[in-house]
Structure formats: structure tokens, C-alpha cells
Symmetry: D2
Subunit: 312 residues, 4 copies
């Protein structure tokens, strides 16, 4: 990769890819604006077989080195006391779920208010708009009616002929284009772009690891202008899209998050499970599909756990 | 309505509509088996415009008479301390969500293990399979790859020419058929059948009310054989499908839940928000659409909060 | 009661009872400073019999009109799956508790940072010191080593010869002094003053009620100078000390909370259960006792659920 | 140490120290019955100075190798939005706490229902009495009025002249007696016995470690008959009283827990912070004090987070 990515490069990249004002000064949807009705209808037309593939990991209730704040699944009433609800004749079992979903284990969507750069969130709103009582701007509610578009999987391990990328490895924009060529498609405006790094396969083979310590494969910062040019609506990965550890650029520890969420208004999907999807795509030699993301409607939320569904 | 629905009628209805063994003795998917790949593909082909409509209520964090155990949305880090994650240069806001979703306020899917009849859950497994540590059978994981099928809205208030049905009102199967006729469609195998009662409109006009005390409009138990005959995959409502209060039949307080979940293996969607969907359907004179439900992948779960998306 | 309590009166009362700077400009303990070692030792010397009486309500897990955000008690592993921890030979049962304890049902202590007046908390720190990530000043940790002092119960229903005070009834300082006289004691510096209103008895007889709607008996604002003069360390009640509804003084909806927590630095104990204590005191004709409050050590917390123990 | 502790020894020890029926067939309080009113009064008479020392760790919200399921402290309303409660003129900050307290980081009390041996809990009740909806027997409510007795600290590192015991080290009953002698006291009926292992000091020096992997210092199983003979009411430690890893005796992975909780009916206090207490005792050359434990009143609970207070 040619250019030197330093602090100045990052600041220029942030400025040049920023979509503030592009859809008006009070816009909170960002690049979701690229998902037009036509785009959505065309995505639905991609469905041929009617096969669905989940792109989420199981709700991560087990602690591990990559899951220091596990999700909670608490049975409230089980079969041992199914009459507990107290309605005569009714046996029922119930449970509770809870999760601080930002992190490295829960499959989730980041709302645009999740990251702050220079005291601002997407479209220039002040970070103080995100209050202890909820986000007044750029919350996950902008996606309340779901994100339904064409999903595109760029399978980088497949391109490289390896089962997975190693933690810390960076993907350059040129490699994304080689993946496009290998897969016979082109990432377009309004797409949900999913970049696989083989994280599930590595975890299955080697066990979980601490992403903040050991690292995660992800996109090099040089991909940022490319993502902007292609006008993707949403970016997702089995990792967190950013490569970890960061490149050590002061002020830019997770540049893809920072430029996508804050600058471009591109939502992120983190910690997806893409092994099944990659397998389904390879078997069909088809890497585009209808893709549906349905966040929980958390008013003022900074995101949501999600189970995105790809449909072939 | 002609027949007398008493305890004997209910027991005969449960037995005659029971699908235990229909898909094998170890089946846990129940009527989801009616959603074939062909059905799913045909549903996707219903998409013409690419307009999406959420069928979920906002995550119900405010207590009210219909919400005695509110959901939790807790900001963990807000804009006032966005550096708190401790990664130099990173400003981020995060939150936690939690919910005991079974109840009358959260839009959710009931897994087949949620209700027990005679010590059994769907397909004859013992209620003791639902342990304090999770359900070993019939959990929400059977829908982990999403439920993607044709959605059909039967808008009963529209049929009756009223803004909503009153709490406690019952819908007979004959009325479901009149709605079909008025809407120019027929409920078929594998459909997700949504029955609107106008609950959102009534709540907007009169404020929330306690469903267990005041009641909810819903399906009369006589609909149970009809639901079975039509081989629906999933049943949903802006209420809980069952009319409340129950009809006072000993042992059958919520017969639709009991027969659908336990007998037929038909998943239920409770507390949906159908006002927007009803409006969208009426405007188009079209009451069928692609419908996507994506539960969180809670291993051993009795259900999940969901945000089902209808796509026109 | 003679004086007119209006906005001017309140502002004068707040100013004249304010202890800011009394114990130094960086003090966060407030009136806990009145609980000297001598005071604590003298309180322990009050113990004659060795009988303990809890002053807390049961952890309030059931919703009711006074409990719109119930506490959570979730069994994680029960006897039906006691081997679930996975340690060979070990059977164990475990659970989870959670609570948003400020409210009208959980027995809890308010830390001094819980209330804000004019943008300030106790000792003049800015409200912004209480961040979305925790309170940097005046947190519950100032009481981390426990509050151990003389407890004094002023039983106002007993004084009046009634089983309880009605919601909204106000207690004047003169009445507190009549209770002292009737009980043969005098509230002194460093005391934990508990004022009973008979709330438990009324709830047992009439069922729970909505305090914000119907009201709660409590102290009239005129008690504020009296509380200051007596140099109490902590104020508690079976209610919330303040009478509800408020007296309608603009800016002063809960003047006892506002003046005690923010001005005087007097911690509050809300929603105590005082029926057993009142009974124990009356039986002994003794209304003073060793009193121990042990908050959970929540760093940055605005309070804690507590189970205060009176020891005779 | 002379005897061989094998499975037979354990079974004999369990049988010979079992207090089932000692206080009647429906007793659920176990050795708390040793804390008579006289014992409590005598404990209060130990107070000379009026100095209080907390024996709890801070509420453990940070993940670490010893804390894989951190406690939760979520601010609900902070100073940035103190008007959020919506009561005109009221500024207030609030929070939520939650914890699955059994584990290696939260200071907590184990109720007698927490451990199961041979399908039974203390006093022979069936483990099935501990339901998914709560424990019907032997819950933490038996201590609802607090545990107030003489506390005795046996400081084993002090005895050995070391700052801490190493993970896995076992303490023999002879060593407990040598500590008694060094401290000039004798553990008696009704005492709360606290055994320090220096865990806090080791953590401060070396950082946290995984107790299940690396180990914890604790009592050798040979202490079990000694604990029974001395008729202690409660046993606590900065560890979990049991030495980890276990001694490898089939069926007896944590014999102290198993014999104390199930057999003797002796409650356990785990993960206490005893460094401050040890220091306070050494400075005074006094290792006995008034000790107060006040569990939250969780109906059906398997224990509670606690902040036990020692009073000199």
C-alpha cells in the first residue's frame, strides 16, 4: 500500500468523506439514505431459492477472553414451576435477556451516535446530545423500519486461499476490488457490505482470544475513501471492521468506525457470524443476496443486538 | 357462533389440531415446517415497491398499566463522559438493554416451549425439559435463521368499519373469512397470519389499559381448527391473539396460545404494532407482503423481543 | 402551623440550614460527620437484650401501583439442574438480583449526590460531577464503612393514637417534639432519626397505593430548621420523609430531600419497614437503639438498597 | 496433618457434623440458632471505641480474570439531564445495580440453599425445593433480621509472618488453634469466624488471578469437625473458605461449603475484604469485635451481596 496513513492523512480522509449536510442539516439517517425503495425492491428480486441464513452469533452468555461482560439469559419460570404465573390452568415458562451489546462478542448494529469525533456525532450534532437518559440525535431509531437492501459478501480469506486472516491483518481497498472481481460483482450505492475475515473459523480452531490484546483482522484506513466512493449504506464484519490493534495514529484508534459512523453516516454491524453465509455463497458462487437487519426499537439507543438474515 | 366451547370441546380441539409427530418424533420446529424454500421465495416475489414497515412497538421502557415490568434501557456511557472507555482518542457512547419480554407490552415471539399443557410442550416433550438453565427442547433457536414468509394481515376493525375492537371482543373464524374476502386473498400454508384488533388506535385515543383486568380483543377458541386447517406457520396480533379475559373454560385460560404453541407448533407474535402496517395495506389495497422475523439467537430461550419487518 | 411556607421561605430555609463548608470545602460526608466514634460507642452501649429488628421491606419484585419498576430476582440455576455449574460432584443453586432502587418500594439509602438544587449537589459541587459513568462526588461510598449510631424512632401514629397517617398528611416540628416527650427522649447530634407514618399498616389494611398520585404522609417543610438544629446525621421513614403531594411551592417539590441531601448533607433512608420496629419499641417503651446501615460499596453510586438493622 | 482425607473420610465427616434435626425437622436457620440474644448483647458489649470497618470489596463492576461476570452499575439519570424525572423543579440522579453475586469477586453471603449434597439441602429438604422461581426452603430470608454477633478474625498470614498465603495453600485446624493462641482468644458458639488469607494483599501486589485456574488459599477439609465442635454460626473469608483447587476427592469438590451449608447449616461469607480489618485488629491487638451482616431481604434468594461491618 502506497500512501502513508498518518494523522494528517486521517484528518483529510475524515473531512473528504464526511457526508454532513448531504441530506440536510437535520438528517440523522446518514448513508441509509442510499437505500432507496428501488434498491430495496431490486434486492428482494435477488431471491431465487428462498433459503435463509442467519448472520449472527448466538447470544453470548458465556464469559471468555473476548466476552468480559457476557450477555444475560435468565429463566424466570421454568418447567419445574410452570404454574407460577398464577393463572389457573396455565403452565408457562418465561425468561429475561439483557446485554451491554457493544463489545467483541454480541452481534450488533452501531447507531450513528455510538462514536464521537471532536465532540461531535454524525451530521455535526454535539456529543452532549447523547445524554445519560438516551441519545436525542442519531439513535438506532433511524433504522426502526429495518434495513432491507442488497447484501454483498466480500470473502477475503477465500480470495487469499486461507481459512482465516490473522489478528491484526489489514485489508487494503485493492484487495476488496480483487474480491469483487473474483466474485463477479461490484459494490454499489445502498449496499450492505459484509467483509469476512474468517474469525469464526479461527475461533473454532484455536479458541477465543482477546481482540483488544491479540487483535482482529479488519479494514485498513485506506479503505475509507473507497467505502465513501461506493456509497455503501452499511458496513459489517465478523470482526469490528477496524483492524486491531489500531495503527497507532494519535486520535484515530478505530478510524473505520470513526469515519463511517461519524463522518459518512454509515452504520456498522459488528461481530457477525459469517461462516455459514460464506459457505452458502461459495456453494452458489453467488455473493449477493437480500439482506434484512431489524434492530430493536430502542428509543435513544446507541445500537441494538441484531440477527441479520441473508436470503438467497 | 354455533358450537358451545366448553372443556370437552377444548380437549377435542387440542387433540384434533395437534401436530405431534407430524414432522417426526424429535421435531422442534412445528409449523415452521410449512415455510418451505418455495414459500419463502414466493414471498420475496411479492415485493414490488421496496417499502419497509416495522411491526414492532418501541422497546417499552415506560411503566404503565399494561407494562408492569418495563424493559430496561440504561445508558452506560453518554456524551458527558465519552472518553470513559479509556482508549486514547476514542469517544464512544454505549448502553445496555434488558427485558422480560413475555407480557403485554414488548413485541416478541413466543417459542414453542413457552406454554405447557398437561405437563408437556410441543411434540410431547416433558415440561421438565425447560430447565432453570434454559429450554432443552422447543427453544427459540428453531427460528435462529429467521422466519421469512408471506405475511397476511387480516384487518378486523377495517372489516367492521370501526377504529378498534373493544377489549374482550372475540373474533370468530367466519369473520376471518369475511376479512379474507374483503381483502381479496386466502390464508395459505406457511403464511404468517397477522390479525389486527386496533389496539394501537385504542391506546392512542384512550391511553393504555390493563389487559388482564380490562381485557384484549382476540380470536375466539373456535378459530383454532381453522388455523390448523389453513396450516399457518405463525400467528401474530397487536394483542396476544387470545381474547382476554378468557372464556372461563377450566384448564384453558388462553386456548389459542395453548393449542397453537403446544399442539400445532405454531409460534406466536404478541404485542405487535400493526397500525402502520394496516395503513400501508389499505393504501395499497394489498394485504399480503414479504414478512421477516429475526429472533435473537438465545440458546435455550423461551422467545425473543423482535422487530418484524413487512416489505411491500 | 404559623409561618407561611412559600418560595421565599424555602430559599431562606435552604440557605440557613446549608452545611456547605462546615466540614471543609472538599467534604462529601455531610452530617455523617456528626457520627463520632464516641457517638457510635454510646449507641452500642444501648444494647441490652441482643434482639435485632430489620427495618427493610422485602426486596420488591412484585409490580404494584407503588412499584412500577419492580426489582429483579432471577434464579440462574435451581434445584432442577443443580449440576449446571459443571464442576463434577458439585450441586449448587445461584441467582441474580437487580434494582433501580430509587422509587417508592425499595428500602434504600439516598447518597448526597441523588438530588440537585440550582445545578449543585451537597457542598456546592456541580451536578455535572454526577456523570453517566458514575458520581465523582458525594457518592454512596462516603458511607462505605457503614453508618452505626443511635437510632431514634418517632412514632407519630402512636402519638396520635391512630394506626396510620393518611396520605398527604404533614408532620410539624411541634409534633416531633410531642413524640419525643411521649417517648421520653430527645433527638441529638449524630442520631439516625426515623419517623414512622404507619405506611405498612395502611398497606396491609388497604392494599398498596400510588404515592405520586394518592400521596404519602411525611414531614412538613417546617421541620427542616428543626432537623438542622438537632444535627441529625441521617433521616429515614417508612415513606420518603417528604409529604406527597408536595405543597406546590415552585422549585421545591420535595423540600425535605432537597434541603437534607443537598443543603445539610443529611442522608435519607426511604421506604423503610417500621412496623416491627415500632412494635418492638412500644413493647419495651424504649425508642432508642443501636442502628446499623450498611450500603453496598457501589463506587460512584447514587445510593444503595439497604437492610438497616435496629438492635435492642 | 495426620489423617488421610479420602471419600470415606468426607462422608464420615459430613455425617458426623450434620446438624439435621438438631433444631427441629422444619428448621431453616441452622447454626444461626447459636446466635442467641445473649450472644448478640455480649457482642455489642465488645464495642469500646465506636470505630467501624467494612469487610466488603467494592461492588465489582470491572471484568477481570477473577470476575468473568461483572456486577452492573448503570446510571439511569446523571447530572447532564437531572430534570429527566419530569417533576417540575426536581433535579435528581438515579442508578441501577445488578449482580449475579455467587462467584469469586462479589462479597456475599451464601444462603443454606446454595449448595446441594446428594439431592438435599440443609436439614434434609429436597433440592427441588429450590425452584426456578425461588427457594422455598433455606433461603437467605432466615437472616432477614440481620446476623449480629461476635466476629473473630483468625489472621493466618500474620501467624505465619507472611503477607499472604499462596493460592492452593491449605489451613489445618491446628493452625487455627495456633492463631487463637497468638491472638489470645478462643472461637466459641455463635461466633462469626473470619479466616484471612491475605488475598487482598496478594491481589494488590500481583494483580487479580483466576481462582478456579490458579487457586485460592483456604481451609483444609480437616477443619470441618473443628468448625462443628466450636459451634460457629457463620464462616467467612477473603477467599471462599474452601481451598482451591479442591483436593480431588470424588464428590467433594468444595467440602467446606458442602459440609457447612448443607450439613451444619453454617452460612458462608465469600470474597470479603479483610485487609482493613486485619490491620485494625493488629493495631489494637484485639481480634474480636461486634460484627453485623445485613443481607438484602430477597424472598427465595440463594444469598445476597453484603457489606459486613466490624465495630470496635
Amino acid at each position: 500500500m502506497g500512501e502513508v496513513v498518518d494523522r494528517e492523512w486521517m484528518e483529510r480522509a475524515f473531512e473528504s468523506t464526511r457526508n454532513w449536510g448531504r441530506w440536510g442539516s437535520s438528517d440523522e439517517r446518514g448513508a441509509l439514505n442510499f437505500v432507496t425503495a428501488e434498491k430495496c425492491a431490486a434486492a428482494a428480486a435477488l431471491v431465487r431459492e428462498g433459503i435463509t441464513v442467519s448472520c449472527a452469533r448466538d447470544f453470548p452468555v458465556q464469559p471468555s477472553v473476548e466476552n468480559p461482560r457476557p450477555a444475560e439469559h435468565h429463566m424466570l419460570v421454568a418447567g419445574d414451576d410452570a404454574e407460577a404465573l398464577g393463572i389457573p390452568g396455565l403452565g408457562a415458562t418465561t425468561d429475561f435477556i439483557g446485554v451491554a451489546f457493544h463489545g467483541m462478542a454480541t452481534s450488533h448494529i452501531d447507531a450513528l451516535c455510538h462514536v464521537v469525533v471532536g465532540g461531535k456525532i454524525y451530521n455535526g450534532f454535539a456529543a452532549s446530545e447523547v445524554k445519560s437518559t438516551g441519545a436525542r440525535r442519531d439513535s438506532v431509531m433511524v433504522a426502526a423500519d429495518g434495513i432491507v437492501s442488497r447484501g454483498v459478501l466480500l470473502d477475503v480469506p477465500r480470495l487469499r486461499g486461507v481459512p482465516w486472516l490473522e489478528p491484526g491483518e489489514r485489508i487494503a481497498p485493492e484487495e476488496l476490488e480483487r474480491a469483487e472481481a473474483a466474485e463477479g460483482l461490484r459494490v454499489e450505492a445502498g449496499d450492505v457490505l459484509l467483509v469476512a475475515t474468517g474469525r469464526d473459523a479461527r475461533r473454532a480452531a484455536k479458541g477465543p482470544w482477546d481482540p483488544t490484546g491479540v487483535g482482529l483482522a479488519g479494514l485498513d484506513a485506506r479503505c475509507i475513501p473507497w467505502l465513501h466512493d461506493r456509497r455503501i449504506a452499511v458496513l459489517g464484519s465478523d470482526g469490528v471492521s477496524d483492524a486491531l490493534p489500531g495503527a497507532g495514529i494519535e486520535g484515530w484508534p478505530i478510524p473505520v468506525h470513526q469515519c463511517c459512523l461519524v463522518g459518512m453516516g454509515v452504520h456498522l454491524l459488528d461481530n457477525l457470524a459469517l461462516a455459514d453465509l460464506a459457505h452458502a455463497c461459495a456453494a452458489r458462487r453467488r455473493f449477493e443476496f437480500l439482506f434484512v437487519v431489524a434492530p430493536l426499537r430502542v428509543v435513544g439507543g446507541t445500537g441494538s443486538p441484531v440477527n441479520p438474515i441473508a436470503i438467497f
